[in-house]
């Protein structure tokens, strides 16, 4: 055992802070170590003297515990505590209401949902050129430039002037369509 560990144990022993099991083990160790026993004895003697040096006989209090004062004080504290808790609750309620009102007031006006349905798109299909009789049927190839040129060649009506056209091509296997959306 290290000397510092032994000394700490001896001090705990002298101060009465060792558990019975540890104390028993230490006592067994001390029986085989006269030097350590001597050291333990000096510590015990020192503490006995120190107890004598600071000892004063305990004396009974002259006054009994002031029960009435304590009871009155207790009532006062209860009342104060109740008042404090009530005030806290009221403060919380006021704060909650104020925050709720503020949140309600500062919320932006709701945007009305657009209920009117958009007018159905005017879907037109590209006329098949092959339907023209006589000549060899033109190939059914198409191009954007061709479609635009065809669109331009159509007579402009009053309603068409305010229309917006959109090319709609759903699948490469199908012909594209020009969709007219009236503004």
């Amino acid at each position: 055992m290290k000397p510092e560990d032994l000394e700490a144990l001896l001090l705990d022993r002298a101060l009465g802070e060792l558990s019975p099991a540890v104390r028993e083990l230490l006592d067994e160790y001390l029986m085989g170590n006269p030097d350590a026993t001597r050291h333990a004895d000096t510590l015990t003697a020192t503490l006995q003297l120190a107890r004598q040096a600071v000892a004063l006989p305990p004396e009974m209090p002259q006054r009994p515990l002031e029960m009435d004062t304590l009871r009155r004080a207790r009532q006062t504290w209860r009342w104060r505590r109740l008042k404090r808790e009530t005030l806290r609750l009221a403060a919380c309620a006021v704060l909650g209401l104020a925050l709720g009102w503020y949140a309600h007031a500062s919320r932006p006006a709701p945007v009305l949902a657009q209920t009117s349905r958009p007018e159905p798109a005017d879907v037109r299909t590209i006329p098949a050129e092959a339907s023209s009789g006589g000549a060899v049927a033109a190939p059914r190839f198409w191009s954007l430039a061709k479609l635009q040129a065809e669109q331009r060649s159509r007579p402009a009506s009053a309603s068409h002037q305010e229309s917006h056209y959109q090319l709609q091509w759903d699948s490469p296997m199908k012909m594209p369509r020009v969709v007219e959306e009236k503004l």
């Binding site: 000397p3 032994l6 000394e7 700490a8 001896l10 001090l11 705990d12 002298a14 101060l15 802070e17 170590n33 030097d35 350590a36 050291h39 000096t42 510590l43 003697a45 020192t46 503490l47 003297l49 120190a50 107890r51 004598q52 040096a53 600071v54 000892a55 004063l56 305990p58 004396e59 009974m60 209090p61 002259q62 006054r63 009994p64 515990l65 002031e66 029960m67 004062t69 304590l70 009871r71 004080a73 207790r74 504290w77």
Partner: protein, 163 residues
């Protein structure tokens, strides 16, 4: 009728003398010891829930008494305050000659060590109880006590060495 007050009255009967002695042993507080004792129990009543929850009601009451004493010392004017609390001469003609130097040695200990030592020697509090009274770790209590006891041992037996 009022259970906490009755419980406190029981504690007063049990602990009153020891706590009164605790105040009486501090010269600066000795005169007002009875009032301080009443204050201690008044404060304890205010915190009955903590008293019930404490590891040791005894240690908890000593802790309150300590704070009541410190507050009283703060309220006193500086000229009235007596700094050291221990060196109380006991008029006893047949006492051991080593006691007086030992009292001087205790009075000369650092305040923290002295306070811890007195709680141990005068009031027989355990390490855990002292730790609760002083609101410090148990290891610190142990260390303070070990240093204090070794110093006192050197006072009595200057030539002794550690094992």
């Amino acid at each position: 009728m009022d259970a906490p007050v009755n419980q406190l009255e029981e504690l007063y009967r049990e602990m009153g003398p020891a706590l009164l002695a605790y105040f009486r042993r501090q010269p600066a507080l000795a005169v007002a010891a009875e009032d301080l004792l009443q204050d201690t129990f008044m404060r304890a009543l205010q915190r009955m829930d903590r008293l019930r929850a404490s590891v040791s009601p005894r240690a908890y009451l000593y802790g309150i008494a300590r704070h009541v004493g410190l507050d009283a010392l703060r309220r006193q004017r500086p000229t009235e305050a007596v700094d050291e609390q221990t060196h109380v001469a006991v008029p006893d003609t047949g006492e051991d000659a080593r006691l007086e130097p030992l009292r001087a040695a205790i009075a000369g200990l650092p305040a923290a060590q002295r306070e811890t030592l007195l709680l141990k020697l005068q009031h027989e509090l355990s390490y855990e109880e002292i730790a609760e009274v002083l609101a410090i770790p148990v290891g610190t209590v142990r260390s303070r006590l070990h240093h204090a006891v070794l110093r006192l041992r050197e006072t009595i037996n200057p030539k002794l060495n550690s094992p």
